[in-house]
Symmetry: C2
Subunit: 697 residues, 2 copies
C-alpha cells in the first residue's frame, strides 16, 4: 500500500498539542520552531488561550478546523485519547514526539499497540512515537524540538536515531548542507522507511534520498519500493549494526556463513541502494549525488598543478574502481600547446606549479571535453601566482560547460576558504584529501550504472508444487524436519537436475536399484542424525552394481553396530558421477529479507576461503548471473589451466529454479545443495541438506 | 652511514644566499621567513649591503663566520660555485632551494651530478635541490618560501613534493597541528628520507615521524633504519603511486603477481612502518600517535549518550580489527548504580540522552578503569542538558586519570567548537564521524604491536655457496639463463629438500636413473624453450622403473617430432611423490627493495584467487612464520576436513633457506619453486623455474 503523505510532508495547517509558553519544555521548543510556519498554526493546551502569540485551544476537538498535521508533545499517558480526538476531528496526519512507548518496556509496548490500532481505525498517517519530529523546508515547517533547523536543499533525510538527527542538523548547519525533508523515524509504529522512501520519490524537489537505519521493518516491501525508486533517484543508506549478533543455531553451511549483514548487502545491491559505511561517506555521497550530473562511464580525467596530488588521485581512482582515462591524440596535442613546457600532458595532467590561471583553465577544459573522459577531478596546491578563488570560478565554469561531473581538492586550509564558498554555490564538492574527492566521484559512476540496469522480473518455471507439499507433509508425519538425500525429489519437482538414484531400505533393494542404474554407484547412509556421512564412514564409492547388495549390507551392519542408538533409514544408492567442478548453493531465512541464497565454489573455497556471494530470492536472470561474478574464484567456472568452461546457462537455470523453490515454499527453512557438480554440458546436484518447518507454512 | 644533521636541523647561524629586498622574489620570501630566526642571520648578495635589516655580504667567502647553514636561493647556474665557496668556507650544511636540476632534463641532470660531487668533496649535508626548504620549530627557523610557517609540535614531517608541503602548512595552520621539523626533500640528490629518518629518531622532541614519499632511494638502507627507529617512534608514511606501472617482461608466476606496491607493503610491514592510504589518514594517525599513550591490547570501550553513535563505533571497531571489550562483572554492577535506568550497561555503554554530565563521567571512568579495556572512545550527540565543553573537560580528565588512549566523536557542528579547543589542548583527537575516531585508535594498537615484536636477525644456515656459483657459471657458458629442473642442485646446495631425481640425456640413462630411484617415477622433458612442460605433453607420470627407458624414448621422440626446431636437453627423471598440499614460493627483484619473496598456496589459489603474500628477503624466522599467516587460505596448512597439519617447521625452514639463497646470490633474478609439496612430516620442492643474470653479479 502506498500512502499519501502530502498532508504530513506538505501540510497547509498545523496544530501543536502540548504547546506551552514555559521555556525549557519540549512543548515550548516545538512551538517555537513551528511558529515560523507560514500557514495557520494552532496551539492546543487547556491551560492557555494563547501560546507564543498563537491562539490556543483547550482540545483538539475545539480546533476551528481539521488541521493537516497534528504535532503531539504531551506525556505518553495522554497520547491515545488525543489521537482518537484527532481521528474524530478528521485529522489525517500526526507526529507523536512523546516518548514512553515500546522503548520503555512492557507497559509502553502495550500502549504502542493501542496507538497502532487507533491509527489504523482512523487511517492516520502517524510518525513516531518517540521522535525528534520532522522538518519540511519545502513548506517552511520545523516540527521538531531541535535547537537548529535545516537549510533548504535537495536531500531528503530520514533517521532511525533522533540523537543522530540533532547531530546532523548541527553539523549540516556549519557545512551549509541543505535538506528538502528531514524526518526522525522513532519507533516506526505506523509509518516506516518504506513509506517515506515512496513519498520522497514523488517529491520533485528531492534529488537524493538518504537514510540512517538500524533495521528495516518490512524487507520485501523495502526492496520492492527501493528497486523502483533507485531508477529515478539515488538512495544512500548508512545501515548501522554490521557486527554479528552472535551465533545462531543452524545446521547448514549457508547458515554458518550468512550473517544478517550479508542480507543487507545483497538486498541493497539488488535494489540499487548505495550503502555508505560511515557518516562521512553518507553525506559526501548525498551531496555529490544531489548536485553533480551523472557520468556516462568510469573514466576519470585528473588535472593538477601539483604532481603529488595527481598521483594520490590516480591511486584513489584505482581502488575506487574508476579508470584513469586515456586522452585522445587531439586532446594531447592541444594540451601540449596550451600548458607550460614542463607539464605532464598524459592523464593525470600536471600543468605544474607555475602554470597561470589561463593555462590551468585550458587544460581542465580540454580534459573535460575529451570524449574519453566521463568525470573529472581538479586539484591544486597553494601557489603564489594562483588564487584559489579564481581557480574555483574557472572550475565551476568548466564543469558547467562540459556538463560532466567534477569534484575538487584544493589542498589548503584558510587560503581555500573563499574558494569553498564559490564551489558550494556551484554545487561542486571540495575536499582537502584528493582521495575523498575521487571516492565521491566514484559513487556517481556507481549510481549511473544502477539507473541503466536491465529491468527483468524473476522467471517463473512450470513446476510441481503439489509434489513438494506432499513430500514435506510426509516427512513431518514421520517427525522428520532435517532431510538429506531422501528429499532429492523436492528438487526434481522443480526441474533441478539431480544425480540419479534412490533410497533403499534394505541391502537387497540397494542391489536392485544399483542394477537398474546400470553403472557403478555410491552408497550413502541415510539417517536423520548422521548428517556428516563421510566423517562417520557412511559412504562407499565406486561400487559395481553386482556388488551393491553386499556392500550395502556391510555398510548398514557396520553403522548399526557403531551407532546402536541411532535411527538409520537405509542407504541411498546414487550413480557415480565423474569428477567435475564443485559448487554449493544454499539458502537461509533472513529475519528481514526472507530467503537469502548463498552461492560459492565448493569445498575449501567455501569452508576456508569463505569465497561466497549472497542474494535475496526470488532472483531475476541478471541477478543470478551476477551471483556467479561475485565470487573471487569465478574464473574456475570459465575454465583455467586448459579446462573447458562449465555449462553456465545450466548453472544459472539451477540457481533460478532453487530461487523459485525457496520463494514459493516458505516452509523450507534452510537448505544446502552441496555439491552441485558442474560439467561443460550440464550441472547435477549430488547431495543436499534441507530443514523444513515443523508446521506447514 | 649515519650523518650528523644537527647543523641542518638545529643551526645556530644562517646565511641566505640570494636574499633580496625585492618583494615577490623567492629570495625575498625566504629572507622574510628566516628573519624571525633568533640567531645570527646573514644575507649574501653582491647587490646589497643590507637586506631586511640584516647585514648583506657580497659572497659566501666574505661572511664573517662559517655559518651552520647556508640557504641557497639563486638561479641554478650560480649554485655550483656557491657550493664550492661554502665548502671552502667550512660550511657543512646547505639547503638548495633553487630549481633547474634533474627535474628539467639532461643539462640539469649533469648539473645535479656535479652538485653531488661537490657535496661529497666537502662533506656537505645538502638538502635539495628543488625544495620548498625546511622548518625547524625547535630552533625557530623557517627556511622556506612558503606563505605560512609551522606551529611547534611533536611531529617531524618530510615530503617528496614541495607543493604538498605548502598544502600541509596551510591546512595544519587552520587545524592547529604542530611540527617539530618540516622538510621538503626535493630531488634528494644528497640527503634523502633515510638521513632524516635517522635524524628525527634522535630528536627527543619528535614523537612521530611522518613522510609523504613517491619513491625510496635506497630500499635496504631505509628498511634497516626504519626497523630500528620504529621500535622507538612511530613512522607513518603515505607512499603515493600505488597504481601499477604497466606490464613488465617476466617469466615467473611471482613476476606476474608482484607489483612494486606489494614490495612497499611488505617492506613497511616488516620494518614496522605504518602505511596511510590517504592524506586524511596520514594526519589522523600522526596526531593520535603524537598525543595519546599506547594501549596494551585491542579491546575498545565505547561510551555514548546516543545509541546510533555507539553502534557505528562498534561496527568500525570490527572492521578496524579492534574487539569490543567485555566489561567485567564489577564494572557492570558499578555502572548499573551510576547511570539512568534505561541505560545499556554492556559495552557499548549507552548512558542515554538524558544522562547528566556526572552520569556520563561516571560511566566513562568506570569503563576506562576496567582492566579488560585497552582504549576508549567517547561519543555524544547534542543534548539540551549537556554542554559539549563540559563533556570535553570530563573526557580529558578521565583520559588522564586512566592513562589509556581515548578519542572522541561529538557529533556536532558549531555546538562542538568550544569542546574541540579543549580536547586539542588535552591532545585528544576529535572527529564528527565515530568511525574515524575508532580508525585512529586502531592505529595506536597496531603501533603498540610494532614495538613489542620479537627482534631477531635472519638466520644464516651453513650452505654450499660455491656449488651454486659453479652451477650458474656452467649454465652461462652454455648460454642458458632460464633454468628448470636441471637446476635442482642449486636448491640442494642450500639444504632445501627437493624430490630425488636426475637429468637423463638419453632414454637409457633415464631407465638407469629410474632403477636407481627404485620407485615409480615422473618423466619431465627438459628444454629451455618448453617451460610449460605439462601443456606441451612433456610429462609422463607414474612410470614404473622397468618401463622408464621405453617411456622416455617415446617421450623424447614425440616431443622432437612435434617441435623439431626446439632444443631438448633430455628428460628429468624424478621420484613420484604422493599427493600433498601444494604451495608455491617465488622471488623477483624489486627495483627498490631487492629480493621480494612471494608465498602462496599452489595452483588455483595463486592463479585464480591471487591469494599470495610477499616479504623482502632476507627474512627472520618470525617474518617467515608471519608469511604463512598472511594468506587467506592459511587454514589449509593447519588441516581442514580431518587432514593433519603440514610440517610447518619444515616449511618455514624451506622459506628461510630460499630467503638466504636469493639474498646471497644477486644473480638469481627470478625464481619459482612450484609446487612445493607439503606433508605432515616434510616438505619437498618438486619443480622450479629460475632466471639467472647473463653476467655474474
Amino acid at each position: 500500500m502506498r500512502r499519501n503523505l502530502d498532508g504530513l510532508l506538505f501540510p497547509r495547517s498545523v496544530a501543536v498539542v502540548g504547546a506551552t509558553p514555559i521555556p525549557g519544555k519540549i512543548g515550548n521548543a516545538v512551538m517555537q520552531n513551528v511558529a515560523s510556519f507560514p500557514g495557520p498554526v494552532y496551539a492546543v493546551n487547556p491551560k492557555y488561550s494563547e501560546v507564543l502569540g498563537r491562539p490556543c485551544y483547550p482540545s483538539v476537538a475545539a480546533l476551528p478546523e481539521p488541521v493537516d498535521l497534528a504535532v503531539i508533545v504531551i506525556p505518553a499517558e495522554g497520547v491515545l485519547p488525543v489521537l482518537r480526538e484527532c481521528g474524530e476531528k478528521g485529522i489525517k496526519n500526526a507526529v507523536v514526539i512523546s516518548a514512553g512507548f515500546k522503548e520503555v518496556g512492557k507497559e509502553g509496548a502495550q500502549r504502542e499497540r493501542e496507538l497502532v490500532r487507533i491509527a489504523n481505525d482512523y487511517e492516520l498517517n502517524l510518525l513516531g512515537p518517540n521522535v525528534l519530529g520532522l522538518i519540511s523546508t519545502r513548506v517552511g515547517l520545523n516540527a521538531t524540538f531541535a535547537p537548529r533547523t535545516a537549510l533548504p536543499g535537495q536531500i531528503a533525510f530520514m533517521s532511525q536515531s533522533g540523537a543522530f538527527c540533532t547531530s546532523v542538523l548541527d553539523w549540516a548547519w556549519k557545512e551549509k548542507l541543505g535538506f528538502s525533508h528531514f524526518v526522525s523515524l522513532g519507533n516506526k509504529a505506523v509509518l516506516n522507511e518504506c513509506d517515506f522512501l515512496a513519498a520522497f520519490a514523488e517529491d520533485p524537489e528531492t534529488r537524493v534520498i538518504v537514510a540512517y537505519l538500524e533495521g528495516i521493518q518490512d524487507g520485501p516491501r523495502f526492496m520492492a519500493i527501493a528497486r523502483e525508486v533507485s531508477r529515478e533517484k539515488p538512495i544512500v543508506v548508512l545501515k548501522a549494526g554490521r557486527a554479528e549478533a552472535g551465533a545462531r543455531a543452524v545446521s547448514s553451511h549457508t547458515g554458518t556463513m550468512a550473517g544478517s549483514d550479508h542480507a543487507f548487502d545483497a538486498a541493497f545491491r539488488q535494489c540499487g541502494v548505495i550503502r555508505a559505511r560511515t557518516v562521512e561517506e553518507l553525506f559526501d555521497f548525498a551531496y555529490i549525488l544531489s548536485r553533480q550530473p551523472l557520468p556516462k562511464g568510469r573514466r576519470i580525467g585528473i588535472v593538477t598543478n601539483a604532481g603529488g596530488a595527481g598521483v594520490m588521485a590516480a591511486d584513489a581512482a584505482e581502488w575506487e574502481g574508476l579508470s584513469v582515462a586515456r586522452l585522445r591524440e587531439e586532446t594531447l596535442q592541444a594540451l601540449a600547446q596550451k600548458v607550460p613546457e614542463e607539464a605532464a600532458i598524459y592523464n593525470p595532467v600536471d600543468v605544474v606549479g607555475h602554470a597561470t590561471l589561463e593555462q590551468y583553465q585550458a587544460a581542465l577544459e580540454l580534459v573535460l571535453a575529451d570524449p574519453g573522459v566521463d568525470l573529472g577531478v581538479a586539484l591544486s596546491a597553494p601557489h603564489p601566482i594562483l588564487r584559489f578563488a579564481d581557480l574555483a570560478r574557472v572550475v565551476s565554469q568548466a564543469q558547467r560547460t562540459a556538463g560532466k561531473p567534477v569534484a575538487v581538492s584544493f589542498m589548503a586550509g584558510e587560503l581555500g576558504e573563499e574558494a569553498e564558498a564559490i564551489l558550494r554555490e556551484a554545487g561542486i564538492p571540495s575536499f582537502f584529501d584528493p582521495a575523498r574527492a575521487v571516492r565521491a566521484l566514484a559513487v556517481l559512476a556507481k549510481y549511473a550504472e544502477v539507473r541503466t540496469r536491465p529491468k527483468e522480473p524473476p522467471p517463473v518455471f512450470p513446476v510441481e508444487r503439489e509434489r513438494v507439499r506432499v513430500l514435506f507433509a510426509e516427512a513431518r508425519r514421520r517427525g522428520r524436519v532435517r532431510l538429506g538425500l531422501e528429499a532429492m525429489d523436492v528438487f526434481s519437482a522443480y526441474g533441478i537436475p539431480v544425480a540419479r538414484g534412490g533410497l533403499a531400505k534394505t541391502a537387497e533393494e540397494a542391489g536392485r536399484i544399483a542394477k537398474e542404474l546400470g553403472t557403478s554407484v555410491a552408497l550413502k547412509i541415510v539417517s536423520p542424525e548422521l548428517t556428516h556421512k563421510t566423517e562417520v564412514g557412511g559412504v562407499r564409492l565406486h561400487v559395481r552394481p553386482e556388488e551393491a547388495d553386499r556392500v550395502a549390507w556391510e555398510l548398514l551392519r557396520s553403522l548399526r553396530n557403531r551407532f546402536p542408538e541411532v535411527q538409520i533409514d537405509g542407504v541411498y544408492v546414487q550413480e557415480m558421477l565423474p569428477p567435475g567442478r564443485e559448487v554449493i548453493l544454499g539458502m537461509v531465512r533472513d529475519p528481514t529479507f526472507g530467503p537469502l541464497l548463498m552461492f560459492g565454489l565448493g569445498g575449501i573455497y567455501v569452508e576456508v576461503l569463505r569465497d561466497v556471494a549472497f542474494a535475496v530470492a526470488p532472483l531475476s536472470r541478471p541477478e543470478a548471473e551476477e551471483l556467479l561474478e561475485l565470487v573471487r574464484g569465478k574464473k574456475l567456472l570459465t575454465g583455467v589451466r586448459g579446462q573447458p568452461p562449465v555449462a553456465r546457462a545450466a548453472l544459472v537455470d539451477l540457481i533460478l529454479r532453487v530461487s523459485q523453490l525457496v520463494a514459493e515454499n516458505p516452509d523450507i527453512l534452510e537448505l544446502d545443495l552441496n555439491p552441485v557438480l558442474c560439467y561443460p554440458d550440464r550441472v547435477v546436484a549430488v547431495d543436499l541438506r534441507l530443514t523444513v518447518s515443523e508446521e506447514d507454512l
